[in-house]
Assembly symmetry: C2
Homo-oligomer: 373 residues x 2
């Protein structure tokens, strides 16, 4: 009866995929280094933490974690709908924007379908596109901003199924005014879906976010509790869109996937807008401080609409990579853009005064060491 086991046959779409992680986490680096970072300002987390009311609500919810979550995410969805002035049927909640991007790709991409994004934009999105066999077409940034006109042009030329556009942008911190984004939305070719990643919407200046229009099935607006709300580890993101598009996620999503404690935490965080405003103020202050530290070292900080500041190291990618390595060696967790010409920069997340004092101490040393290298 027994026979020699051979293991699984893998599907055509996955057999040749690399076993990779889009980002190496700071904990992985700490384990490899054998010591902790002194400043964790590399993953655009909110070191200011979540609303204390959200933390308290989660503590109360923890012993009730024996219950599966509500697969409809009803209470959170209704609260978000009221907050945004749309219907509950216009919102899908997921395990972070990451999961929603994956579902969006799975819903629209056949093997060989074209997906348009910017060269240097969010790697996790590219990971999902590769995972479903899409063909990525990457459009260069225009200066340090994504290029809406070029994205549209590529989408039309290549008959794209999906267009990815982040506003404000990661990793550059740049942004487009609402009128330009509205023009991008209006220009989406027939049969394409625009994924408008607004993870950094909470820190964007007024006039950045075009009005929501949930009658338009050509765009999904992606939002998250991971940034200014300070709940990155809880994994709660959502998309706002036309009801039919939103309903399509029910075809494939992990219905019981959004943690019960996370739903409770996000709901409480949403209700505490005063804390959000306070946090956004702290982030703005941290951005100014980071820009000041950059200037003290003769470097230019890019303008930022996000919870991080991208610093131009003024030379090429190899040099910026050395600067980054020297910062990491000095126990400062930061990251950098992955491709040229963006990779002349390093990216520093908003930190508390203590975190930024560590940066202020380490940066001149790192620059000196990198210059020698």
């Amino acid at each position: 009866m027994s026979q020699s086991p051979t293991g699984p046959r893998y599907s055509a779409l996955t057999v040749d995929l690399p076993a990779t992680v889009p980002f190496v986490g700071p904990e992985t680096q700490e384990r490899a280094r054998g010591r902790k970072f002194r400043a964790r300002i590399g993953a655009n987390e909110s070191v200011f933490g979540p609303s204390p009311k959200a933390a308290a609500a989660m503590a109360v919810a923890a012993p009730l974690g024996w219950m599966y979550c509500d697969p409809e995410n009803h209470d959170l969805k209704v609260a978000l709908a009221a907050f945004h002035g749309v219907g509950a049927e216009n919102i899908v909640v997921g395990e972070g924007i990451d999961a929603l991007l994956g579902y969006s790709v799975r819903l629209t991409v056949d093997p060989g379908s074209v997906v348009v994004t910017s060269l240097g934009a969010y790697p996790t999105f590219n990971f999902h596109v590769a995972g479903f066999g899409g063909r990525l077409v990457r459009v260069p940034y225009d200066g340090d901003r994504e290029d809406p006109a070029a994205l549209l042009e590529a989408a039309r030329r290549e008959d794209a199924r999906l267009i990815y556009f982040a506003n404000p942008d990661n990793p550059m911190g740049s942004w487009w005014p609402d009128a330009d984004v509205a023009r991008l939305i209006a220009g989406v070719p027939a049969g394409a879906l625009l994924l408008l990643d607004e993870a950094y919407s909470d820190t964007a200046p007024a006039g950045t976010l075009p009005p929501l229009d949930v009658t338009n099935p050509a765009v999904l607006r992606l939002r998250t509790f991971s940034k200014a709300y300070g709940l990155a580890g809880l994994r709660v993101g959502y998309a706002i869109g036309e009801a039919g598009v939103v309903r399509s996620f029910d075809k494939i999503r992990n219905h019981f996937g959004v943690n019960r404690v996370a739903q409770v935490g996000a709901l409480a965080a949403l209700a505490d807008q005063a804390y959000l405003v306070e946090t956004v103020g702290r982030i703005a202050e941290a951005r100014r401080r980071i820009a000041g530290i950059a200037a003290d070292n003769g470097l230019a900080a890019l303008p930022s609409a996000t919870n991080f500041v991208t610093i131009d190291c003024g030379r090429d990618g190899a040099y910026a990579k050395r600067v980054l390595g020297e910062l990491v060696a000095r126990d400062v967790f930061v990251r950098m853009p992955g491709v040229a010409p963006l990779d002349r920069c390093i990216r520093v997340s908003a930190g508390r005064a203590d975190d930024l004092a560590v940066l202020a101490e380490a940066l001149p040393q790192a620059l000196a060491a990198a210059a020698r290298g």
Copy 2:
């Protein structure tokens, strides 16, 4: 520039999928009914709750939820590896067994690939198979147990990529001894992967679980913190298997998908084995009480190795469905198997004395009403 938006083109695999949820949650039913259940004993949750140490650890972790989770799930994985006497490279942690089943299907199923399961087994698995275009071949239960020999025979005949087998079984609560399961594992045809769902392993009698063999790439053992550990709402499951098969999940998983608070909670729950033993004792006591309530009403309770008891209502599916409806109408949340002949039963999860007192009160009334109906 503006044009009439048409919305997305859907992928071939998803365009015709129904927008459905595999299970309607109790909260959805409560909203529809306009009132709460008095006893929540339908989803095989552990109403006894998680270890207080796990709840306390999660409360401490909540304010630290601003940090993304460790995408390697390192600490939990290492603890699980030590607990099971395998390597960390033999374990993949995911957002519940549900997510791991979805990843397993995506990794192995091409459109048209055959997947073998039992007629009436876990619907969420079938949801994933349909979602990736697999062709489900369903083998009838043998009495009230899944039929290992018939599953193997079908897998061989149909050249299956995947075989799903739950031991102990849901929804019947039945189980096979380890020797039979070992024979099933040994018989897996070349090129197939056996998904051995052991969600109910913690409540199974001794002699149910064959030894782990992480040199065998033909089987994945799926475990969870959702059942006896009382953390269903936290979404932490894991699979134990051969290192190469385990590594393949890195190709596609949502790397940052397992909530930071959940990782901390699961780690603390694992460390509190005394509480687990206590809970398993309470579950056994509840099973006896449920069987007693069934007997008091002239019904037979099936033997159970799980945290629920399946009660044979003694007539057909239409009758059991009426009994279930009458219980729900009396504010008792229970569920039932979906297909004949299993659907002559209702399924009652282990409850506290209070929960089961509600059942004891409602069941005779429900049976009387169903008999009239």
